[in-house]
Symmetry: none
Subunit: 270 residues, 2 copies
Amino acid sequence: MNPQQTIRLAVIDEDSGFVTVLSKRTEAAGWQQRVLTSAIPPDELVAMKLNALLIDLSVLGDEAWSYLERVCGMLPDLGVVVCAGRSTVAQRVRALRLGVDDWIGKPCHPEEVMARIEAVSRRRRRSRAGVETGPLVAGELEIRADQFQAFVGDGSLDLTRREFELLQLLADAKGQVLEREAIYQRVWGYAMAHGDRSVDVFIRKLRQKLEKRSPGWSYIHTHFGVGYRFDPEPTGGTEPATPAAEPVAPAEAPTGAVDSQVVHSSFTPA
Amino acid sequence: MNPQQTIRLAVIDEDSGFVTVLSKRTEAAGWQQRVLTSAIPPDELVAMKLNALLIDLSVLGDEAWSYLERVCGMLPDLGVVVCAGRSTVAQRVRALRLGVDDWIGKPCHPEEVMARIEAVSRRRRRSRAGVETGPLVAGELEIRADQFQAFVGDGSLDLTRREFELLQLLADAKGQVLEREAIYQRVWGYAMAHGDRSVDVFIRKLRQKLEKRSPGWSYIHTHFGVGYRFDPEPTGGTEPATPAAEPVAPAEAPTGAVDSQVVHSSFTPA
DNA sequence: TTCAGCTGTGAAAATCCTGTGAACGCAGGG
DNA sequence: CCCTGCGTTCACAGGATTTTCACAGCTGAA
């Protein structure tokens, strides 16, 4: 129906028979496919620029849940489909809640698997294909993903791995408020433990470094009770280099009527 | 964790037993739900501003395919989940290719159905995230969910988390009267204790901030003994610039914005 | 008009959250 | 083996937010 872009799928499965049959079909359909027989680190999946992933739960072993969690957390735009032999409702629910997009029981028909992967990919965000987008510039800051470095006017910022990833994540979502959980999930790769303050600590480190090298600008804003938002703004302080402070340019999009709809949800028996 | 957006689900099913059980859960989860026992024209679904739809194939009869096709075609952003008793691979594939997002076999566990609907909504939301999602405009007010911020003509309203969520909820249901219990349930996430006045207090805070930043407009109206209704209306009051006479017509509102102010009070208390 | 029931207010009290500074472990390099 | 850089944890202080209260002001019905 909709041509969309070609599907770049990775299959992690040991069942060579199934994989062979599936591959034949996906190939015929023009998909780009990569077959793996065991799980690989999420980072490598990121590098593959996939848009869909099919995993057989059994190859994950005990690490299954944490692995799925990491993958779904770090690649929120990836369509993840899990297939498994026996399974319980609880397992399926757990996986789906974890971020998995679909769960198929085995045995399953290749055609249906493909249809489900398509359905999942159809909803995939056409992320700004910014694969090799130029360096990200914000305020006096310049972030080069390829170099794993950030620069301010006079030199590089010297950030540690975590600091850099955090900054990159925030800057990528410039203007948007990111919740702590989401940040943690994407940078650390797994769910934040209750009471973990790592994000806050790193935010402080970033602020310190940014403040020292680029005074007169404030980059990271706190949204109390929610999270943080990256948005370079010249502060009334020093250094009036570039007065450019776009006041939130309304995107566009009419969104159409935003009117009414259901309300009432229930009478809570109090 | 914090559902950026409540799920507005419509269930089309004749199996009252199943629907009853499901409703109990969705209600507890704070979803807005509408139950239908037979198919209704796609246009009416559009009017409901849903973001998820659960259909039992059997109620569609012969029209099934054409109905699903029309629905998926007219509401590309709607998450559609189909459930059915017996089914063949061919049927499932056909439905998925048609645009349906997920297919569940019956009997199925309500919890799994919910998890799948959530997964579908999550995906849908993700694909529309960012620039795609236009801000919600009402009167001089502009609400941006992704930024967790609300703006009036000259700048951002400094709202706290609860204030923002409350405002968003109200504005989302523009024109509709929301009962306190329902408001509390959705914003706070759990049932309101008897005698709790939190909602009232926050309504006051919102009114104060709105009034201060956008004089000449009244946004939140009280419905004695019921609840509150959000509806931007120019008051014959202060308003320095625009002589308040024209109806809701945001200055630089994007064209094509069809703002149907009419409120067809569909949802009746069961 | 009176009354009981709701809602609007202000402010105090109770909680929750974030910013910090510093101590701890760990792992690689010297 | 010691030193140094990094990522984690802790505990506390200062604020920002939420709740809770007591009262005054309204509303609708008898």
